[in-house]
Symmetry: none
């Protein structure tokens, strides 16, 4: 029996749910023999990631689980997206999530996603390079499909500005970014953002690829819409805070971004798509390999959240079965396994909710409570009780042998 | 399955208890088949309304459950009583709870309730109109029996003053109101209150109705005693905070007052007495009707608390049976039902206590935990765990679909 441990943290996005069929949650309905076996041999509980009744975002929930109090560290989503696509942010950079969108001749948004672009982003991005507005460097990075990230780099800028994305199906012009506060930096940043939206239209509407799309009767990706402004501030890495090495296996940019923010090494895994079709076997094998090199492996599975947002019970059950396969592979390792979700995404409401999520801590020497099934109802009587994301982090750090005593 | 929900919150005042007979609580002893049926189909837990070990007042407990942190918003009970009898408070008004009492010829209180007046309050109040002391307007409003509310309106006043009600069976003069702090406003207000008590004696002792009472050998209601000073400050309504409409069905002034403070519409129900004899069927029907118009219905039942303060187990069991009837009617609606208490009032001590109270959240898609009986012991293993009043509020707001995500 190992005294101190390596650990794998598996976060299944949006796994928690409500009574969806025959009064049962997807976890109660699914076939998951390996998860239940581990449950019988571990400690369980419920996690209110950000506190009871608080609806967690994906970014804030992961910050908490990785040990960064969102009330202190969360400065908007943009920086995590930028970090997630591999961009090296500098202290003070202001980053935004971005969409390629379509505006009509009257500059009204007719599609927030430009007909859901496929892989045209990088080519279109070619016309958005080396930009500068009011002396501030403007950097655009394409991501998957219609998505991208916009970064402002320079003096006297702020993240206290509102979105230009109208977040609406109504056909209206992009919103004017407004300063959210009275300071000069916010006013200046809002002005730069508004100019950049106009500039993107000028640059993109004449792009040959858009001309071609229009010929084919497709929507042109002729404007950028911004949202989720956040300022980047460097923080202590997990290594600096606790002393152990760590890595991240994830398909989607956001989770890689949060992991990079925490100083984790990002491992790239073929077949990790961030969707229901993700290859969990490949992820499991990558995690096994990573355990030889790192103390802590954070493995993110996105598909269950996608399934919930689509209201698709079958797909969610499939993701739980994939999770079962994943843990059957990983339980062969000597490392501790921690299995949980960042938040619930109940199929019946197709959005994040505050319902607490199940937690399982499994390892040789971990206390074995009386719970025999990994689901929201069974683990409610588990020996971990009800904990928060920050508390789970502390439990993991101690289990790994890197905790610090309070007092002596 | 409903996507987002309307909700009825039923608060049974003082419902929680201790082991009162055969080692069981009244909820364990009572016959309540409908409550238990809903319990089998819902989520349960225990609520420490203001935190573990804190004895909640009725006012502070309700503030918390409705989403107003008492540590921030509670400024004394007076304003809630004034609002509860329908008075329109203005910002800065200082309100007191008041009793008609009896003083003897030596100005000593011989009965704090003037022999528990029946319905003479309004007639006596006729002599207490259009008063002004030191330039401050003094308004008296009679309430039920010997009760009333006193409001001071003007500049330079404060709620930091002590009670004149001696709260004692000892025959002593009314207490001198004292400033609770060093400022001029408190000193001035205490002086005005003391003058008002004297003035009330002058005005009431010569009232024909009191002359008549004395002839009949009854105690004259010849003085006003004040307590529970509080200053009124307008707050954001529930509609402004969360976006949903709400109404209140209650028999007693305090609860209507807290509801008005939160911007809820007060519905008047014939037979809602605030006592053990309350007509729960009428209240249930009023709630069903209200659901057509409002998103959220707060339904208060007082009788269980009265029974506990009287040490009357039979009456408390009767109130639980009435609650069972109430939920049998309301469970036919599509709305979520939340059933709880503001605090425990154990029969053995006849006062509020810090013992946590049971909570049941019932609705189509709500998780169904393994608890099968709605009582303090059974729900302790429920899936909600132990929550606070403010946390229950957040859970309800999210369940109704009006929550806000923290992060994105």
């Amino acid at each position: 029996m190992s005294l101190e441990n390596k650990a794998v943290l598996i976060v299944v996005d949006g796994l928690g749910d409500r009574a969806v069929k025959d009064g049962k949650t997807p976890l109660q309905l699914a076939n998951k023999p390996h998860l239940d076996k581990l449950t019988r041999e571990g400690s369980t509980g419920l996690m209110n990631t950000l506190g009871v009744g608080v609806i967690p975002g994906s970014d804030t929930a992961h910050l908490a689980i990785l040990g960064y109090d969102p009330a202190v560290y969360y400065k908007g989503r943009g920086p995590f997206e930028a970090l997630g696509v591999g961009f090296d942010l500098k202290e003070g950079d202001v980053a935004f999530r971005c969409n390629f969108a379509t505006v009509d001749d009257s500059f009204r948004v007719v599609d927030r996603r430009a007909g859901r672009l496929k892989d045209e982003g990088p080519e279109l991005a070619g016309s958005l390079q080396n930009l500068e507005i009011e002396g501030v460097e403007v950097i655009f990075l394409p991501s998957t499909e219609h998505r991208g990230t916009l970064i402002l780099r320079g003096e006297g800028i702020s993240a206290a500005v509102s979105d230009t994305d109208p977040h609406s199906a109504e056909i209206i012009p992009p919103l004017q970014s407004m300063p959210l506060g009275g300071d000069d930096a916010a006013r200046r940043t809002a002005r730069i953002v508004n100019k950049m939206v106009r500039r993107s239209y000028d640059l993109l509407s004449s792009h040959p690829l858009n001309k071609e799309r229009q010929k084919q009767g497709k929507l042109p990706a002729n404007v950028l819409l911004t949202r989720g402004a956040g300022i980047f501030q460097k923080v202590k890495s997990i290594k600096e805070k606790y002393g152990f090495t760590s890595c991240c296996i994830a398909g989607s940019a956001l989770y890689k971004g949060v992991a990079r923010y925490a100083g984790m090494k990002i491992l790239s895994v073929k077949g990790a798509t961030g969707r229901v079709d993700t290859d969990v076997r490949a992820k499991a094998e990558a995690a096994r390999k990573a355990l030889k090199q790192f103390d802590f492996v954070f493995l993110h599975i996105k598909g269950a959240d996608n399934a919930s947002h689509d209201g698709n019970l079958e797909a969610k059950l499939l993701m739980i079965e994939k999770l079962d396969l994943l843990v059957s592979i990983l339980s062969q390792e000597e490392a501790c396994l921690i299995i949980t979700a960042d938040h619930s995404t109940p199929i019946c409401v197709k959005r994040h909710s505050s319902d607490p999520v199940p937690v399982l801590v499994y390892g040789d020497s971990v206390r074995k409570d009386r719970v025999t099934s990994f689901d929201e109802i069974s683990v409610a009587s588990g020996s971990l009780g009800q904990i928060t994301g920050l508390e789970l982090n502390k439990i993991i750090v101690d289990l790994m042998g890197f905790g610090h005593m309070m007092g002596s």
